[in-house]
Symmetry: C2
Subunit: 341 residues, 2 copies
Amino acid sequence: MAKRKVSLKDISIACGVSVATVSKALNDHHDIGQETKEHIRQVAESLGYRPNAAAQALKTNRTNNIGVLFVDEANSGLTHDYFNHVLNSFKNTAEENGFDITFINGGKARINNMSYLSHAIYRGFDGVVIACVDFFDPEVDELVKSSIPVVTIDHIFYNRIAVISDNVNGMRELTEYVCSQGHKKIAYVRGVESSVTQSRLASFYKTLQEHGIDIPDEYVVIAPYRDTDAAYEATNKLLNLQDPPTCIFYPDDFAALGGINAIRERGLKIPDDVSVVGYDGLEISSRLTPKMTTIVQDSEKIGKIAATKLIDLINNPKGTLIEQIVVKGTLEPGASVKKLN
Amino acid sequence: MAKRKVSLKDISIACGVSVATVSKALNDHHDIGQETKEHIRQVAESLGYRPNAAAQALKTNRTNNIGVLFVDEANSGLTHDYFNHVLNSFKNTAEENGFDITFINGGKARINNMSYLSHAIYRGFDGVVIACVDFFDPEVDELVKSSIPVVTIDHIFYNRIAVISDNVNGMRELTEYVCSQGHKKIAYVRGVESSVTQSRLASFYKTLQEHGIDIPDEYVVIAPYRDTDAAYEATNKLLNLQDPPTCIFYPDDFAALGGINAIRERGLKIPDDVSVVGYDGLEISSRLTPKMTTIVQDSEKIGKIAATKLIDLINNPKGTLIEQIVVKGTLEPGASVKKLN
DNA sequence: TCTCTGTACTTAATCGTTTTCGTGAAATCA
DNA sequence: TGATTTCACGAAAACGATTAAGTACAGAGA
């Protein structure tokens, strides 16, 4: 199988026609005879012909390749579970439409230290999806301002299509549920600064206020997303308060594990002594005992819509509406929250 | 910023030299004057020049792009946690060496239904890494037999470089540990058929035998990897036996969650009534209470070595040794296994 | 019979690079 | 001073595909 790669030229020679004819036959142009077409295709097949993406890209300015930019504060990359769920769905949808996925990040480590935009131009990505990064990074800004089709996830730039999880309503539902269970001393281990955090935090406060609940400032503590150790520390801080909360919200389901450990180490029971609430709704949350109360973000839908919209944009740059699409999550009540009387 | 992409030609015009000279200056060839070089580079920079990957690939037959093939039985894709840890490390190492990562799979869904090999040829991948797939798939076979540099993970083809987690010694250590804690009635919820499963299963039996422990056939039950529901069912089956085991091995830490739930639903305590053992050693295992006894697979190292070896192979196809590299895991004892007296 | 219209091709340019082979001028050597 | 080497650069082909424009020929229409 060490044969040289077969090109249009090889087929043209084998068929005794010109390269142009072969190209047109393979691309089903109308000005090639039916018999010729079939013959050419047959020969192409038997020769094991495969188009050369580089040559096609060079000529057509189309790569059928989408760039993925993802950098989070912890640099968890592909191990970031919410993101990899979104990305997996994005990838599937893209592939169904004939697009491949290539990563853009890793910029800092590269030999030829390219910016995100440079990298995107270099690879000739037809479009780019940006998720979970530090959206205030000047390199991201450069990319967002470029002429490359872009879709962002969970952050809005008003000149770009954005797909965002409904953190406002999600947090509202979650908070309302906890309130409805009779909790009044509700603490929030919030994630670090980001669009997502802002939405959730604002919604958290607003909902409490609507329910006439006032919490002390010490009830809101910062811990990075997905950081069990930080959540552990934060939880200890909360439980050490003179008037500790009866329920603790965590940045996400995974970080909540750290909190759960802190609680249990003190000999406290969940939910009898302290109730616990997560966010994300990944599979793990439903497998824990007690089952975690959380918001299931529809990562499947988010990824799918992002891909669909980006591909629309690629295929019709002028005619595609710049819009912000909000994807609803669903409240998943679990035994981790106790009903107070 | 909607300027047309700038090419070598633009630079050559701006500098009043030929395209060849520009190309050579940018690639630091020796036959260009120092001053000219610097001037050209400066102009290139100021014009915002970016090389065109497609043109380069076409000319040099090098894409600096590596294909990643990953398909597991459950099609979990990027959400497969062991794999995404390996891949993340692979990706980082590849990027440090100037390579990008593009996925190969998704073949079935593609418009132009390409085989894995076709896809790899089409994209002109410099090399390919294959992990966790069904290694008996004829398409995988075709790829493995091709002339493209390949590294496989957790499965050996003897004509290819392979990086594998040391499942034999891992399972030995794990089993020995459990034996050392006094367990004799040890059950194994094993994964579905694969190289990994075979190694672990064989090692499991062998180690038990060496310790003079004989277990009934019913103690070994099949459940897919990462399938909490199946592990749940399997566990119930085991606990319903007349003489139930005192310790249960699971295919991986995540699946173990299903088993844990089954155990607790019966009002049994871990580890007092039943001990539990996982595999993988992902972060979650150390955050559970009780902490899970498991083997930490060195996914970081596996990914890194796979990338390094593949890149060696790409850069020196003839001179690189075809070898099988085994990466040791480490036993992580946890409170999930009780010491019997 | 002559023109016209399709049909089915071919020719040739082009995309952006890289690289081999020249070539002229300056520098070195005898 | 004449021959040779070195240096710095240019011309042109090539990678594999696409596509606008041109051409040859058969049959239709007048």
